[in-house]
């Protein structure tokens, strides 16, 4: 009873604070500050059509490096906590899925993985990028985990792919430091023509590595949660 009253008081206080914040806020009418600089200078400096991609990969590149580390830490934690102590060889009590589901999944999975790769390769030209593409690839692997009862990922290959992608991301950053103006600068490759696929310097390369890393990490999390 006391606990319920305390929770009610806390949420009421929170609502009062939010209401005051709401009353004092005026919607913006123009870009100002850092956003104005980014939108005005970005096409000539970095050559990417998608401004959010340019911010995530180069202007705020260190935040993305930190986020990739947090994701890696979470995937490692999940793998560590859910590992099986002994090899319990229970018999496979799962029935295989119906014929319709099997055929449909066999047809769909290559297209899903290809669509995910398309999304992270085109991150600098249209909405998309490494995180979205990696999530689509992971959902393709989720589909095959759900439909095929004996599907399992090759753990060694996944570990190698993930580690190589993460290390290559840092190596590209250091190349930016050595050959261009700073860490994770994308101008050590030529900027190319605005709007072409191979433009914006090293942004497609960086996003490809991020997409591979995020895709394999999320698939690893899902597979660790599935094992019984």
């Amino acid at each position: 009873m006391i606990k319920r009253a305390f929770a009610f008081v806390v949420v009421a206080l929170l609502l009062v604070i939010f209401f005051k914040m709401l009353m004092l806020w005026q919607p913006h009418t123009d870009l100002s500050g850092v956003a104005r600089e980014y939108v005005a200078k970005e096409p000539n400096q970095l050559g990417a059509v998608n401004v959010v991609t340019a911010i995530v990969v180069t202007y705020r590149g260190l935040d993305t490096l930190g986020e990739v580390s947090v994701l890696f830490l979470a995937a490692t934690g999940v793998a560590l906590l859910l590992r099986r102590r002994e090899k319990k060889e229970k018999g496979m009590k799962r029935r295989p899925a119906s014929e319709f589901l099997n055929t449909g999944t066999n047809l769909l999975i290559p297209f899903i993985v290809m669509f995910g790769a398309y999304i992270f390769l085109n991150g600098h030209l249209s909405p998309g990028g490494g995180f979205q593409g990696g999530a689509v690839v992971a959902s393709g692997i989720l589909l095959s985990l759900l439909v095929f009862p004996r599907f399992s990922l090759n753990h060694a290959l996944m570990n190698w792919l993930e580690s190589l992608a993460g290390a290559s991301y840092v190596v590209v950053g250091i190349l930016g430091l050595v050959l261009a103006a700073g860490f994770l600068d994308n101008r050590f490759l030529p900027l190319g023509q605005y709007g072409a696929l191979l433009s914006a310097g090293a942004i497609p390369i960086i996003y490809t590595f991020i997409g591979l890393k995020v895709g394999t990490e999320l698939s690893g999390i899902l597979e660790n949660l599935k094992e019984e």
Binding site: K3, R4, F6, A7, V10, V11, L14, L15, F18, F19, M21, L22, W25, P27, H28, T29, D30, L31, V34, A35, R36, Y38, V39, A40, E42, P43, V49, N50, V51, V52, I55, V56, R60, D63, T64, E67, V70, L71, L73, A74, A75, G77, V78, L81, L82, S126, P127, G129, F131, G195, V214, L218, I221, N224, L225
Partner: protein, 117 residues
């Protein structure tokens, strides 16, 4: 706009209420993810400018006049990071819940009082 900011705040308050009053550990994780979603909607709605379009500078928007035609791109970059970190933290919390369940076979948070040091 003010309307969606109000909805985001209401969503955060609902999430906090669920976090404080539920006993089932999985319900607590669901409430925390609702708080995350509300916060992200709030951040994007602060960067919205009425009548403008998405920050993609292709031929429809044009490079020269882009500063007067796009919404604020910085909150979108921050929210992109926040969504991915949110799902990572949710997965780690659920791994902890599964591990605790395997020790004591109960999902009620008040059964775990004796694990304090």
């Amino acid at each position: 706009m003010i309307l969606i900011l109000g909805f985001a705040f209401v969503l955060m308050a609902i999430g906090f209420w669920g976090l404080l009053t539920r006993r089932n550990m999985i319900k607590m994780v669901i409430s925390l993810s609702i708080v995350d979603t509300g916060l992200e909607i709030g951040m994007i709605s602060i960067g919205y400018i009425k009548g403008r379009t998405a920050p993609i500078l292709d031929s429809a928007v044009g490079i020269a006049q882009a500063v007067h035609k796009v919404v604020d791109p910085v909150p979108q970059a921050l929210v992109l990071t926040a969504i991915v970190i949110g799902v990572a933290v949710n997965a780690l919390m659920l791994a902890f819940v599964i591990n605790l369940y395997q020790k004591k076979k109960s999902l009620d948070i008040s059964d775990y009082r004796d694990m304090k040091w």
